[in-house]
């Protein structure tokens, strides 16, 4: 080691780090019948369990279930970790499209990253199937003819969870908001419903993202506002820490209600029913919803990481790829690869139907709509087995669950 000089060593280390950040390189040569799907999500941070490797497992399951291989379509999957950073996500997306001939960018949680990818995919005329980002701007002011927003968005979460809380008497709110595009959109959309129902927003606090682990200061501020509902406009690890610490500080014991505006089943699993019981949340998928979702879960479970049950972001990836591959098989690979807009238009022209997400349709603004479910987390006594966490409170029909087509300011609708 002694003869190795420091500069060479640091150079080597830097090169290794840079290599680690790059997506796996795929060969340039490509058979004429191959489509490439790039799964871009959080493989290493606080959102890993709600998308991450679980989304990849669901994509592979979709490829298998779609049966396109037997029809002569070859599907390749590449995986990238955007680390919740728009710059990293943009770099990977450009490389995938420009160098590696990737046709579809899939999943992309973290709204700030999703909005960046949205622009790049549109410039390159490829396809962006977003399952795990929440901002309703993807089908609003920033809508794109190359993008379909598949699984949920801030408007639908706000309407379902926020609406239910207001109806139950929670007419004064204080928001704890993750300080980036997603949190802002969720706070904005929920505030809209609270005010429309005659309620008031007493205040909000913006928490740095990522990197906030202690929410006690923010919870105490929320409490001293005397609001009846504390709206958590955050997700994943942030939501878990907020709820855990709210229990510690006795927030709910004083009658204040917590509204977890975006909560996933893996969050409930991590909190444990003891802490999470009684919370309500909105999802477009639950593994134990019906026979079809249970059958899907049974098939994909062996390849899910760490025994996780799929959540809605991951199930959305399955559903999106099922529909995409069906369209590819109908159009033929060369036609499906030629223009992202054309393929997306074909996908919009027919309803979606698969075991995970059931039946749905895709609107002109790129919003996929389906029934939306409001769940309550069971008490430990009510839960009958592993991952038996939700009871269904209410189902909002597809036509009412999402933002009306004309209200999003999407240029695709006006023209």
């Amino acid at each position: 080691m002694a003869h190795l000089n420091r500069r060479a060593l640091l150079g080597g280390a830097a090169a290794t780090a840079a290599f680690g950040a790059l997506p796996a390189h795929v060969a340039r040569a490509q058979a004429a019948n191959t489509v490439r799907i790039g799964v871009l999500n959080d493989q290493s941070g606080l959102y890993r369990d709600v998308n991450g490797p679980g989304s990849v497992a669901c994509v592979r399951q979709a490829i298998q279930d779609s049966g396109v291989t037997a029809r002569g379509v070859n599907v390749e999957v590449v995986v990238g970790d955007h680390q919740n950073r728009p710059d990293v996500g943009s770099t990977i997306t450009r490389q995938w499209i420009d160098r590696d001939n990737v046709d579809v960018i899939l999943d992309v949680p973290t709204s700030s990253v999703a909005l960046a990818v949205n622009t790049i995919v549109r410039e390159r005329n490829k396809i962006f199937l977003n399952s795990s980002a929440a901002t309703s701007d993807l089908t609003g002011a920033q809508c794109s003819p190359n993008t379909i927003h598949w699984t949920y968005d801030t408007y639908m979460l706000a309407k379902s969870t926020g609406g239910a809380m207001v109806r139950a008497g929670g007419d004064t709110w204080f928001f704890i908001t993750a300080d980036y595009a997603f949190g802002h959109a969720l706070e904005r959309d929920t505030s809209g419903f609270v005010r429309a129902a005659g309620g008031r927003v007493l205040g909000q606090v913006r928490t740095p993202f990522p990197g906030t682990t202690d929410f006690s200061s923010f919870l105490v501020q929320a409490q001293s506002s005397r609001a009846k509902v504390i709206g958590l406009a955050n997700a994943g690890g942030d939501t878990i820490n907020s709820i855990k610490q709210a229990a510690e500080f006795g927030v709910t014991r004083r009658g204040t209600k917590l509204a977890a505006l975006l909560m996933f089943i893996s969050d409930v699993h991590s909190l444990g029913l003891e802490t999470a019981q009684g919370l309500v949340c909105t999802e477009s998928f639950y593994w134990d919803l019906n026979d079809r979702t249970r059958a899907f879960t049974q098939r994909v479970l062996p390849s899910m990481p760490g025994g996780l049950r799929p959540g809605m972001g991951q199930a959305g990836c399955y559903s999106a790829i099922m529909h995409y591959l069906k369209t590819v098989a109908e159009m033929g690979v060369p036609a499906a690869r030629a223009s992202g807009v054309e393929t997306v238009n074909r996908m919009k022209a027919q309803p979606t139907n698969d075991d995970a997400m059931g039946e749905g349709t895709i609107r002109p603004d790129g919003r996929r709509i389906q029934p939306v479910y409001l769940f309550e987390v069971k008490t430990p006594a009510e839960s009958r087995g592993a991952w038996d966490y939700y009871k269904l409170l209410q189902t909002t029909p597809a036509a009412e669950a999402f933002r009306p087509l004309g209200e999003g300011n999407c240029a695709l609708v006006r023209s």
């Binding site: 913006r206 740095p208 202690d214 510690e248 500080f249």
Partner: protein, 294 residues
Amino acid sequence: MDEIFGIPAPLLFGQLLLGLINGAFYALLSLGLAVIFGMLNVINFTHGAQFMMGAFVAWMLLHYFGIGYWWALLLAPLIVGFTGVVIEKTMISRLYKLDHLYGLLLTFGVGLIIEGLFRNQYGSSGMPYRIPPELQGAWDLGFMFMPVYRGWVVIVAIVMCLATWLVIEKTKLGSYLRAATENPALVQAFGINVPRMMTLTYGAGVALAAFAGVLAAPIYSVNPQMGANLIIIVFAVVVIGGMGSILGSVVTGFALGVIEGFTRVFYPEASATVIFVVMAIVLLLRPAGLFGRA
């Protein structure tokens, strides 16, 4: 006296208290770092991972063996401290003769590997770990609701910091350690086994990190990235306090916790950055840190 700068006074008292609690974690973690840097001249970037391991070992003890919080408080630091001894013996001890940077790169890499392994095994959402029954509940202080457990954390952290400071500054063992840092060859000539002392010092620093991890387990989600989130702040604390200064790291840890707490009221968006602003100012005015010797 009802309002200070437009903020209700009770809210500010609450934030002062919460700031002290967070400061307790900063102090405990930066204490371990300071001990390791002061004695070994190694910047231990594995510290965050070792903090996380402490929390995970506590969870494993409960989950696989049914061993509760109080035993975990003792066992987890011992177990994680032992892994520290192994890392020091097999890897770090080979780098003492080289520049700081080598130790930094090595420990940084080891930290990444450990976090990656835990992430592969346990995912990112984390594991539930409950507050022990003896420490559940809360006191109503009038101006805020104070969980008993948080009070316990502050007290234990202060006791631990004092004990460490006493051992290093006031005991014979501590004087050997300090002498060995100044001139290892001379101390060895007096018949003291310096390499073993270095190994045990590293193990003790790591055990302190694991101890903080066990304390954190009931408050934060026990997840693989919990240390990475904290460690950058803790490094800033060590730099502000003065590298290797034990008193400096403890005082700075608590002080910065309080500064961060107030920022969360006045301008919450900046609460993640305020510590680095303080760091930049301190480095400009006192490059060796507040308590460091230039």
